[in-house]
């Protein structure tokens, strides 16, 4: 099934997969019925029936880098679902007309495909494709197709800053291990000027980021080229144009691993374009999205006559062609569509599981990739004992230095190696020991925090932001690893929490106190497991929602009853075995781990309920068990008896 079950966090947000990043979300808090977002499924494209999925009619949608998650407003635990973006073949946008609201249709990839068609595509594509693309598509596609022309080519190129000639990056140039001093660089093949180290490194990294494991795939398939020599078979014109190369890679990739129906045939030159393109890559003619091509299967159909029936034709070989419609009843579809588009282009899910930047001690590439470089791992000898440990530490450190050095080379490289940097930050955090909770929160904050800009503009984006912040906060509070509430004795003032939360966000995207309070007030409405409580004095505190005043009083009284049996450290003038002792707010704060302010408020609350009474003296304000009010006093049976 296309729809997948989704795990929800305590705050009823989808639990993120590793590396998953929240891009945007939509939903609304306003109104009573306010069916904002609903899922509609069409069982068959041919019959445009309006089969709405029951129970999925009102909720909010999260778009992450990997998934689209739908969380129901009514029964989130039961009726939440997710769609993996990698299974989405294409998506269509419908702007809405009169009463029909804007919709985004997601068409899943069909489960099977015919190999003949694939071969047809690849052979169709390969002449015009750059040579760099073919190894890539080979590695990415789930089915390793036989490529018509296996081109032995180096994977990365760097462009000479002097003559703009595209030089191949030496195949043994390993971005993780290379350093400015140790790695010799060949001059430009055209003009003979030596390139800057960073320039080559950048090219290598961006190349590595684009394809999962280029360094390993190349030597396996092609004879190892001698360093510094150009690859004759490579057409220069292709390599020089970076964006177009990537673009073509993508469309190639797209068409191979997805069904061909995804690509759009150009009406003028019949080139099959990537579906997200508006204009033909080759001739620049305008493409109509309706012509989402059935072109290959049905070559007679022309894009010039894009009737509404065209895309209703089921592709041959696909018996079942179901799609999911997201209906945006409360607006927000524009932004969602935009982000979805970006997301489908980026294809972050391809990165998952693949090493982001090749490492020197990668098991597969260790024998080939690092042979020519000067990494210590290349000539690593097995050493045991302390020397071996030291050696390994040294290697790790060098590697880390390198990663950090690479990352800050410039922004582009940073983005390429962001994943590794986050992992580093995490490892630093754990080795720091005591600061764990807060520093790991920084790493956390890099990905999973809702920010204002994620939600973009719009009429109710503000309330949406607040509600998301509210869920964020609830997660932050209930996170067992962090134990914010537990450390504060189960209750924390809102101000303290605000400070903690902002600190955990690591100084970016700080939350304003106003938003914070608004978010906290939403907890009850969103049925989250924490609640905001207002004391008589107006102090706002946060505690778990199962913690009631009665429970607090009970624990207070239990504590006070203990004092009856504990002998005091000094002589007391009253009968402490009968009355126990008075406690100050400070005593309570120490005993329960509360802050003083909270202790004061809790004691006052208990007093107001009649469980405690107060004693004012030069020693300060003390609270006692209520022996004055007989209905409250600990031993009601003795009432009115003179002792």
């Amino acid at each position: 099934m296309f729809l997948k079950q989704v795990d929800l966090t305590t705050a009823l947000r989808p639990a993120y997969l590793p590396d998953e990043v929240l891009l945007t979300m939509w939903g609304s808090m306003r109104g009573k019925v306010s069916e904002d977002t609903s899922l509609k499924a069409k069982s068959d494209e041919v019959i445009p029936s309006k089969n709405k999925i029951p129970d999925y009619q009102n909720g909010h949608v999260y778009l992450t880098s990997h998934r689209i998650c739908y969380v129901d407003n009514q029964d989130p635990r039961k009726n939440s679902t997710a769609i993996d973006l990698k299974e989405v073949d294409r998506y269509e946008f419908y702007a809405g007309f009169l009463k029909s609201s804007a919709k985004i249709t997601l068409v899943p990839k069909p489960p099977k495909r015919s190999s003949i068609q694939n071969r047809a595509i690849s052979s169709l594509y390969s002449p015009s494709r750059s040579a760099t693309a073919s190894p890539l598509s080979r590695t990415d596609s789930p089915f390793h197709l036989p490529t018509p022309e296996p081109t032995p080519s180096s994977t990365a190129t760097w462009i000479c800053t002097i003559c703009s000639f595209s030089n191949p990056v030496p195949s043994n140039f390993d971005p993780t291990t290379a350093s400015e001093l140790t790695t010799p660089l060949a001059p430009c093949l055209n003009c003979g000027i030596k390139p800057q180290f960073g320039h080559v490194l950048k090219a290598a990294i961006s190349n590595a980021a684009n394809r999962p494991s280029p360094a390993s795939s190349v030597p396996l398939r092609a004879p190892l080229p001698v360093r510094g020599r150009t690859d004759a078979s490579r057409p220069h014109s292709d390599v020089g144009n970076e964006p177009s190369t990537m673009q073509s890679q993508k469309s190639n990739q797209q068409s191979q691993e997805a069904k061909k129906s995804t690509s759009i045939q150009c009406p003028r030159c019949t080139f099959l374009n990537h579906p997200s393109l508006r204009e033909c890559e080759i001739c620049g003619a305008r493409l109509s999205p309706e012509a989402a091509s059935t072109g290959l299967e049905n070559p007679l159909l022309r894009a010039e006559s894009p009737g509404p029936t065209l895309n209703q034709l089921p592709a041959p070989g696909t018996e079942e062609n179901e799609s999911i419609k997201l209906s945006f009843r409360g607006g927000g579809e524009k932004l969602f569509h935009e982000r979805l588009k970006g997301c489908m282009t980026q294809r972050k899910w391809l990165l998952q599981g693949a090493p982001p930047v090749p490492k020197p001690n990668r098991p597969a590439g260790a024998d080939t990739g690092s042979s020519g470089t000067t990494t210590p791992s290349g000539e690593r000898v097995k050493t045991a004992g302390i020397a071996g440990l030291e050696q390994r530490r040294l290697e790790v450190r060098k590697n880390n230095e390198l990663a950090i050095g690479n990352a800050f080379e410039d922004l582009e490289t940073l983005m390429a190696s962001a994943k590794e940097i986050v992992a580093l930050a995490e490892s630093f955090a754990t080795s720091n020991g005591n600061g764990t909770s807060e520093t790991s929160a920084v790493a956390n904050a890099l990905g999973l925090v809702t920010t204002k800009e994620m939600l973009g503009g719009g009429s109710n984006s503000e309330s949406l932001y607040i509600s998301e912040l509210s869920r964020n906060l609830a997660e932050f509070l209930t996170d067992d690893a962090r134990g914010v509430l537990r450390k504060a004795g189960g209750i924390i003032t809102l101000v303290d929490l605000w400070a903690k939360f902002n600190r955990a966000r690591g100084g970016v995207e700080l939350v304003s106190p106003l938003d914070f309070e608004k978010a906290a007030r939403l907890w009850e409405k969103l049925k989250l497991p924490v609640r905001l409580r207002e004391f008589k004095s107006g102090v706002l505190v946060v505690q778990a929602s199962d913690r009631t005043d009665e429970k607090t009083i009970k624990t207070l009284l239990f504590w006070l009853s203990d004092l009856h049996s504990l002998p005091p450290d000094r002589e007391l003038s009253w009968d402490w075995q009968l009355f126990g002792r008075g406690v100050t707010a400070q005593d309570a704060a120490e005993n329960f781990g509360w802050s003083i302010g909270v202790a004061e408020e809790e004691l006052e609350m208990a007093e107001e309920r009649g469980a405690l009474c107060r004693e004012e003296s030069i020693e300060g304000l003390k609270y006692w068990e209520n022996w004055i009010d007989d209905s409250q006093s600990p031993s009601q049976s003795q009432s009115y008896n003179v002792i």
């Binding site: 003038s573 009253w574 009968d575 009968l578 009355f579 008075g582 007093e607 107001e608 009649g610 009474c613 107060r614 004693e615 004012e616 003296s617 003390k622 006692w624 209520n626 022996w627 004055i628 009010d629 007989d630 209905s631 409250q632 009115y640 003179v642 002792i643």
Partner: protein, 218 residues
């Protein structure tokens, strides 16, 4: 008269002691025999709240505060009954064991005492002396209300067959014959008031000059 210094427990060495303190019953139901109790003198026993430190702090919670006032009211009534006090001087009594617990070094403040008395006044168990209201320095403590006193005295007259005999007021409260009675040593002002009540009821007649007043019961 000794009402201005009502503090010393030794003030009524011969006074019959009361049974352990009971909450004041409604005025109308007092059995008259209660006026003639006889037992050995014993020191006043304070309720346990008397040594409970918070008892001396005004409680802000309404319910607790009400309970506090009630306890104080009972304590004052019991204390006055035990010590045969009819009138309480606020300033003097502040240092008395009633409001000052030496053991736990706690005392009730003057304003709190006034609040208690005011509370008792509303319950018909106290009355400010004079017309100053809360500003008065003294107050009557009605562990027996004047009406109860009137009935009590009349009953005693009846029981001792002194109807239609003339008694001086001094004789009534200070003579040895009334030693065992609760109204022995009654404040003259209060006695005057009680007599007035009896006169109104038509059960007595008061005559004579200021210091030499006599009374005749019918």
């Amino acid at each position: 008269m000794s009402t201005s210094s009502p503090i010393q427990p030794s003030f009524t060495p011969t006074a019959p002691s009361l049974p352990p303190y009971q909450p004041p019953p409604p005025a109308s139901k007092i059995p008259t025999s209660a006026l003639t109790t006889t037992s050995s003198p014993s020191p006043f026993t304070y309720p346990r709240e008397h040594s409970f430190p918070p008892f001396y702090t005004r409680q802000p919670t309404l319910q607790t505060h009400h309970a506090q006032l009630q306890k104080w009211s009972s304590l004052i009534l019991a204390y006055c009954r035990h010590n045969r006090l009819f009138k309480l001087s606020l300033i003097d009594s502040l240092d008395s064991p009633l409001f000052y617990n030496q053991r736990i070094r706690k005392r009730l403040g003057i304003s709190d005492v006034k609040e208690v008395v005011e509370f008792m006044r509303r319950e018909g168990r106290a009355e400010w002396v004079g017309k100053g209201g809360e500003n008065s320095a003294e107050c009557w403590i009605w562990w027996r209300t004047p009406e109860e006193w009137a009935s009590g005295i009349y009953e005693w007259i009846d029981e001792t067959a002194q109807k239609n005999t003339v008694l001086t007021l001094y004789e009534l409260t200070e003579s040895e014959a009334t030693l065992s009675q609760e109204f022995h040593g009654m404040d003259p002002d209060l006695l005057q008031r009680v007599m007035n009540i009896l006169v109104k009821r038509g059960k007595a007649q008061v005559f004579g000059q200021e210091d030499q007043q006599g009374v005749k019961f019918f």
